[in-house]
Symmetry: D2
Subunit: 291 residues, 4 copies
């Protein structure tokens, strides 16, 4: 298939590479040129402007957030350049409100909009092992399924309304943040009694909580290893904000998300914004006066 790919960050680069490996023609655009260069050897075709990515069977976007997506797709006029009948596979983590706006813009442009945010970090993206939650027009999804298969280990369908995929992504990140905070508080608690956080987390992440999320973040919290950041704390704050605003729009109180927001803000105020968001787990220990 002929694919236009917009956004070659840590995630997008791996995803585009897997599409190339699967034999697709992939034309790429990125704000900075270096990421583009790295993909040329693998067969990517460079684009000068984002609107060129819409001259394709399927356009994939994987930008940082609402702001970047608005700038590149809407304000630049890129979407307006799309052919009616085109498909836009939007894989970034976007707010529920902005997805509503995007859906309307696409409807007017006659472009099918598929929301397909992903679970997994850059290593999973590079390995084609992402979990992809997808919602949009069924025929369009059927058409892009080979692309989703090339990028992910599994696709999880959520119906026709695109925003549904986004809120599941947002809910998942909220649950991750909650798990980090819970491990942090539990660590502060047992350390108050002389138990190493690592000893407690070793037990729990091999029994009740024997899940990837707990094992990975648990080890970081136990070792206070918050650098280098695979996912910055400021991005975590942004994502918890997505949960809160999505909840507010539907009158859904989220008391855990409120606590997370306050603790993440405190971390940023204390200079920890560039650490991995696992550092949220370290705040509980600092509040308790533990080293």
């Amino acid at each position: 298939m002929r694919i236009g790919f917009i956004g070659l960050g840590g995630m997008g680069s791996g995803m585009a590479a897997n599409l190339l490996k699967a034999g697709h023609e992939v034309r790429v655009w990125n704000r900075s040129r270096e990421a583009v260069e790295r993909l040329l050897a693998q067969g990517a075709v460079p684009l000068d402007e984002p609107h060129q990515a819409f001259a394709a069977d399927v356009t994939i976007s994987m930008l940082a957030d609402d702001v970047a997506t608005r700038a590149v797709l809407l304000d630049s006029g890129a979407l307006a350049a799309a052919q009616p009948g085109a498909i836009h596979l939007s894989m970034a983590t976007l707010s529920a409100a902005f997805v509503g706006e995007l859906v309307e813009h696409h409807r007017q442009a006659g472009v099918d909009y598929i929301a397909a945010p992903v679970f997994g970090r850059t290593d999973m993206a590079a390995a084609g092992k992402l979990n992809i939650v997808v919602a949009g027009p069924p025929a369009a999804i059927a058409k892009v399924q080979p692309l989703l298969d090339a990028m992910g280990q599994k696709t999880w369908p959520l119906g026709e309304e695109p925003v549904r995929a986004n809120v599941v992504k947002i809910a998942g990140n909220f649950m991750l943040a909650s798990a980090i905070e819970a491990m942090g508080e539990a660590s502060a608690l047992v350390q108050g009694y002389g138990v190493e956080a690592g000893d407690m987390l070793e037990i729990l992440t091999n029994t009740l909580f024997a899940a990837p999320a707990y094992k990975g973040y648990g080890a970081m919290i136990a070792e206070r290893r918050f650098e280098p950041a695979a996912f910055k704390l400021t991005l975590g704050l942004k994502d918890v904000g997505l949960a809160l605003s999505a909840g507010q729009a539907r009158n859904v109180p989220l008391p855990f998300a409120s606590v997370l927001r306050d603790n993440l803000l405190e971390a940023v105020a204390q200079g920890e914004g560039d650490l991995d968001w696992a550092a949220l787990g370290g705040r509980a220990m600092k509040r308790a006066g533990q080293a």
Copy 2:
């Protein structure tokens, strides 16, 4: 080994049965007689008074809480009847403060006190598959290891100070409650956008949160299936209280535990105290006005 076993509730009955299967002589006491009767066929010897359970190589207690343990072991004079050099393997979920008190009583009585609370519900107890966290005098632990092996799938050592095992147990239950609340809030969030909680939880509990705790409670929340109660919500409130009081004694703020306590109290006030504590997850949906 000759064992005195005090407390044949859902957990204790299964544990005592496994000790009998392993060939030990088990003499049992329980407040109500029925539980005793059920074990006789498996070879248990009934006792009339709790103090008789201390005429043994090892006395095991598995009572409901601080209050029951205080009544049966201290107020009744049972511990005072123990032989110096005896071992008490205390497996209940007790408060950090009360364990401190118990340790002192045992020191005065010349009895080794081992704290060995367990992770696992009644089915795990019956199957001998408990995870046991243990702390106490090393020689005493070595002596009871065959008993722990008969009752559990694994023993997790936490050093010599008994209270350490208890706070790890308390921390684990706090993390469970946090997981339930997080799933409940995430469910309310996605339902605000027309996504079934079950569809969201199916995805997350098979990927990032593919852990026993999430799968089990996630299914209950998705189906709003809170009866029959395997672990009552009022017990969950008690356990979150153990975390808060243990934290307070060491100046450890636990903001998630505070939210949990408030939400559990609200559930009790709304008549849900006898439901399974997974009903905590349902509160988030009710607060949002969802059916």
Copy 3:
């Protein structure tokens, strides 16, 4: 002075009337015509378009929120019609972020921007008894001081940077909401022991808390009298949101504001959005299962 006045809601009508009483020439614009009609008998001059209000010595705006202010002042082109050297006295409760944006627009237009939000409800506005917090260019403030004196009982200066007046207004409303919540929780607590909320509040609002805010809201909570709404709960939710977003922009965690937001959202979800925001105080009793 020749005044253009935009926004004749419950507050603006009273304020404009007091300017007329003080002998000023007041030309008024409002989205709906009825409010304009009511002021004509008092000598107001009706305007057809908001931009006409900027053909004046001082333009006063008192619109509902960011959205209304943006629509009427910016999107309509009204501000662009202002003469360089004009003064805009902006008295609405606006977000810190939007005020920053407005300041920049006014700088470009060569118009002095004074922020002067007010404390007081419609009866205080009608009586000219508002408390006005003001920040902006000193010379401009000196020029409008007679107008502030006509509308308020006292002006509280906060320096040259307009946003400072807005955040003090936002902080004050946050403190009001906190007082309502605190009275609600205290009421639920004592009612759990058979004490009427009114009996408790009678004591406290005549001693430690003998302040207007406590007496007024205390009486409403004691009597569960939340209709008619002098200030709707949904507006309270908006204002608490202003505190949270202003805090987030400066990395200031506000845990009380987070609780307020969750409880106000819950109230809206339960159908109480159109009640007076004193109904926030009633939520605590409902959560406790009290009638």
Copy 4:
């Protein structure tokens, strides 16, 4: 009247002195002797043992907390020495649960128990200006009314059930703590925008919040003046704990109290336990990284 007075701390000394001034015979007991010596010149009669204070028409106790009250009145056997028909005027801030226990002990001893906790600090106690909330047997209250009049500026009756007076006292202290936290958060918010906390609090405590509680604590927060402590932060933590436990016993969630507890614990963990509890207001600024 012949009065036995137990507990001559900062509060009790002033109260006993006012009883002496009013012409009563006051026999006093205190754990440390110095406080007793100071009252002798004013005509007090020293007692060697607390039980002697029960050989009186009315016994007044004003001890630090549950623990001190239990030790001096119950464990020492003092109450057991009381004559049937005696009156005990219990003025300390005690927990709801312990008051229930005390009422039962007094019933068995045939002694009338009146709960009469007070609002006001040591200066108010010395000046006879306390506000006293009272509940107990009407005839007994009528008899001690002259004593209440000598110690307080006003007595607020709350019926026959003693615990009612205690929960109103507990609710009042919870509302004070909430006011301190709200002022602290509001201060952190405006300081994020360059407004001095003192400038904001000057406005609000002279308008909406023109109440003694806000003026006094507001000034301390504005000046970060938390020493010397008129009421230690650790005592504030204890009192918030009284609210939480009283609420828990009646299934009343108190989310503000939960936040207060966490923030007070954090303050203690950070070494601020001996500061005045107004320091709670300073935590919000510290969390935001403000000096």
